[in-house]
Symmetry: C2
Subunit: 153 residues, 2 copies
DNA sequence: AGTATGGTTCTTGAAATTAGGAACCAAAAG
DNA sequence: CTTTTGGTTCCTAATTTCAAGAACCATACT
């Protein structure tokens, strides 16, 4: 597949972004490619060839991205190839899924405070504040999503 | 410094958490230690010794954490040591700081759509939705912080 | 059955990250 | 001005991550 310079640049930028979010480089670029590509559904081989990466790297990254719920593939009868595409329409789920992990840290913080000496009142207070705000976030972010849906209309 | 098993476990958990957020292991553990330690202000050497790490690792991690605005140190006249502590009281700034980076990706997404073919209407629409929600988040999250401050009283 | 296609798995090498040790430096203490 | 203390920097070793290549496997096609 042919890409313009601008497209390639965008792919790299998105790739770096995804790397910072914890993905491996190849996985990030695949995301980028799927964002940018005029065809939003690409085969294994189109991806491999366009990004100039090996089959193994392609296979591993695609599987990872599927596990992370970012990607899926569809098939067409009479065609053995898989057509990979972003799960863009389900981005709301991803958001909500991300929100869940906030609670974990909040709970750890509460454990920390439970374990701490009572001597450091202000410090403990600060910790509880952070924990409480995280809980608040966890509770309010889904609402924000609904509100956004509303005001969009 | 002596730590209980529970404290050590919490430090490791916090450490892993911070690693996932992009810090190096030693830096993550230092954060953990400062969360957990009964003394919230620790010297270079207390940190080094408690975590059993080298001076260089300690020095580098502490400097990194200061750059990232998570840590500061204070001094006491007549005492050459630096006392490192979390910038816990300024966690609101960190939150707001994090919110800023959301916009970047939103803008990249808009660039992507600008570059895309007009053929894939629904796909482009989805991309714009994500971009728009991110902008909404960027705008609403600071408000959420203020709201939380309010309802706390 | 035999072959081609689409994709996976295993092994390995290269590159990047992480952290240790030793030498070093600046300020304070003696 | 010498020594000690607190911390930094440089160099290197070890570990981890990343991705390539080749062998492999399953399904579809002939």
């Amino acid at each position: 597949m042919n890409l313009t310079d601008k497209q390639r640049e965008l792919i790299e930028r998105i790739g770096v972004f995804q790397e910072k979010a914890g993905l491996q480089p190849v996985a990030g670029r695949i995301m980028g490619l799927l964002y940018v590509s005029d065809k939003p559904e690409l085969t294994f081989d189109e991806i491999r060839e366009t990004l100039g990466i090996s089959k193994s790297a392609t296979s591993n990254a695609l599987n990872l991205l599927q596990q992370l719920n970012r990607l899926e593939y569809i098939t067409y009868s009479g065609d053995r190839k898989r057509y990979f595409r972003l799960k863009l329409d389900k981005w709301r789920d991803l958001v909500l899924q991300g929100v869940e992990s906030i609670t974990d840290f909040s709970e750890t913080l509460q454990e920390v405070v439970a374990e701490r000496t009572g001597e450091t009142k202000e410090y403990n207070q600060n910790l509880l504040e952070v924990a409480d705000f995280l809980k608040y976030l966890h509770q309010e972010l889904p609402k924000l999503l609904t509100q956004w849906e509303q005001q969009k209309k």
